[in-house]
Subunit: 197 residues, 4 copies
Amino acid sequence: MASRERGTSSTGRPRSEEAHQAILAATLDLLAEVGYSALTVEGVAARAGVGKATIYRRWASKGPLVVEAFGLLPSFEDADTGDLGEDLKRMLRGYILAFNSTALSAVLPSLAGERAHDAELSKVFEPVSLGRRAPLLRAFERARERGEISEDLDLEMAADVVVGPIAVCLFFKGGRLNAKMVGPMVDLALQGIRKEA
Amino acid sequence: MASRERGTSSTGRPRSEEAHQAILAATLDLLAEVGYSALTVEGVAARAGVGKATIYRRWASKGPLVVEAFGLLPSFEDADTGDLGEDLKRMLRGYILAFNSTALSAVLPSLAGERAHDAELSKVFEPVSLGRRAPLLRAFERARERGEISEDLDLEMAADVVVGPIAVCLFFKGGRLNAKMVGPMVDLALQGIRKEA
Amino acid sequence: MASRERGTSSTGRPRSEEAHQAILAATLDLLAEVGYSALTVEGVAARAGVGKATIYRRWASKGPLVVEAFGLLPSFEDADTGDLGEDLKRMLRGYILAFNSTALSAVLPSLAGERAHDAELSKVFEPVSLGRRAPLLRAFERARERGEISEDLDLEMAADVVVGPIAVCLFFKGGRLNAKMVGPMVDLALQGIRKEA
Amino acid sequence: MASRERGTSSTGRPRSEEAHQAILAATLDLLAEVGYSALTVEGVAARAGVGKATIYRRWASKGPLVVEAFGLLPSFEDADTGDLGEDLKRMLRGYILAFNSTALSAVLPSLAGERAHDAELSKVFEPVSLGRRAPLLRAFERARERGEISEDLDLEMAADVVVGPIAVCLFFKGGRLNAKMVGPMVDLALQGIRKEA
DNA sequence: TCGTAAGCGAGACGGTACGTCGAGTCTTGCT
DNA sequence: AGCAAGACTCGACGTACCGTCTCGCTTACGA
């Protein structure tokens, strides 16, 4: 906690928290409007009413700035109903709603696509990205404790199977995500594709 | 086919096929080296030994150029062994190998990420993207004919469940794809996550 | 005389003579308005309706640009009346008039002051500066041929003595130059300060 | 005189004389090193180990600061030998030596050049500039009292004729000043350019 | 066999954004 | 109050590409 303290005893004028927030807000605004690649630091500065130097003093480039802004966007909201299928359906439905009502749908693909070529960006994006998956994994852990799923199931992989179709829609079908698809999708992942013997 | 004919009966010097190929090759080279967002038309022209106008005469911008170059990269290679699981495993393993040995791993995330903000790009990317999934869907169709899977299964969704984990790895785990993960992954998708009663 | 040929066989689009002139004109305008040190390349580009790169393609920095613009301003206009004093008075009067009616009074001190710290500027300024003195020296040479002045007089130094007071006014008295001062000034320099025996 | 008193009776901590001197010294240092136009207040503050505000509290901008620093540099040192020519030669020789061994040669042209466009700077530079000429004019006054020069000679103009060549060298010949040129120069100015009848 | 029409490499064009620097001002906590 | 430190907004720097536009020069076809 308390990320406010800095190692050095902080001499000179302290950085303006107000400017910090204005920059992040402007970044989210613009991301939603024009997307990652068309986002310019100059534009963010203008929108935030801030000098460019004030941005570069805090973030090395637009990548980390966008990652921090991204971190403010909603993620999975944990749901604990006692049933894995129900938990997953609630979480995914909530996520899709958040997706369609915030800059998420504009930011996430951009960031994910960019990290492939930008080691620096990848490094700062990693923990944020993992942190957002945590509620999902917790649902699987609870299911394991309840005996709903096999003891030696790879939970990471299971989570990937569940959210995978959303990723595919997002990146390859260009399409708007629809909360209605969640039910069948989760059912299919839980029961398996192959016909039950 | 035959993209060579143009509506107008083509008087004057014909476009150089040599230049065309050089441009696409240079594009793939540079995509692998620097990624989509750092790729510049100027750089492609220089690498291909071509004037910028020669590029803009054929492609409106870097988006469509990259999409066309992307279309040259390998996709799923159909495998028909008589068993859905085996088909899928072979296709995915082959794909992952292609992925790690060509510019694919650099190009695909970039393009997929960019399309979210670029309607034009999205439009040209769509058919290419769908075409590449076709072998996968065919395998499912064969399995349905063989009775391996339920008659009323949504094949699109099933395909998404199978390749989903790969997409997740690619976009969110920054990770190199490993052909070894394919076996358990396909098995899990086919049998389902929930413990069999 | 044919300064248009360039050593290299000049491939690509040729540089726009129109832009060249617009830039020099804008430079002179702005020099007269704001002076050398407040002159910005950005401002020149805007005034000339030209991109910054078009300026930097021709001149390495604002120094050489200003020097070239300076070279367009009027200098001494030769006068040959058969009398050294009369020649000098006419030339200096004409020069002072030019001085007060063009950007000269703004440009010359700035450039002269700047060259002290800028070797590059000094180098390009040198020939221009010397060229402008030439008519003055020619008047002294004619006077020597006529026997008006001693055979072994250092003409350079004599020229300096004549124009020196103008330089002093210009740099240290901040003052507007007045054509009326020319007569007594030239007389004093020609006859000497010390009372004639 | 006594610039220490301020109108208000000065409550609070008094201004540090130490900082004042450090700033002026740093200014002279940097002027000699990089010249007027490349001199930055930021640089002066850093060199002097002082906050920028401490400089702006005393001087409105770099112009007046430099003028004050300039005032610390040596000027003509009066010489009274009973002969005008000798007085002038001694003074000018001394001045040239000072010129070549201090920041003078860097500061003087810059300031003189800048004042043309900067009314504020011109205003503060004026008295300093005039004050420095005073010893020169006194020599002429003594010569007039001794009858060496005509009663109705314009002393200002005479002084300009004598120092003019130095100014010309300084501003237009880019050149280092050489004490050897003083003798002939003064002689020429005193005796006149025109051959004696 | 030639003229005409388009494509070609090269590179300049007017722009926009980059990331940096300094100007002059404004907090901090300390003296 | 002044001090050093350093963040603030602003604006210019010089560079890199954008997508467009001449240049002088190939090609190829159709008259």
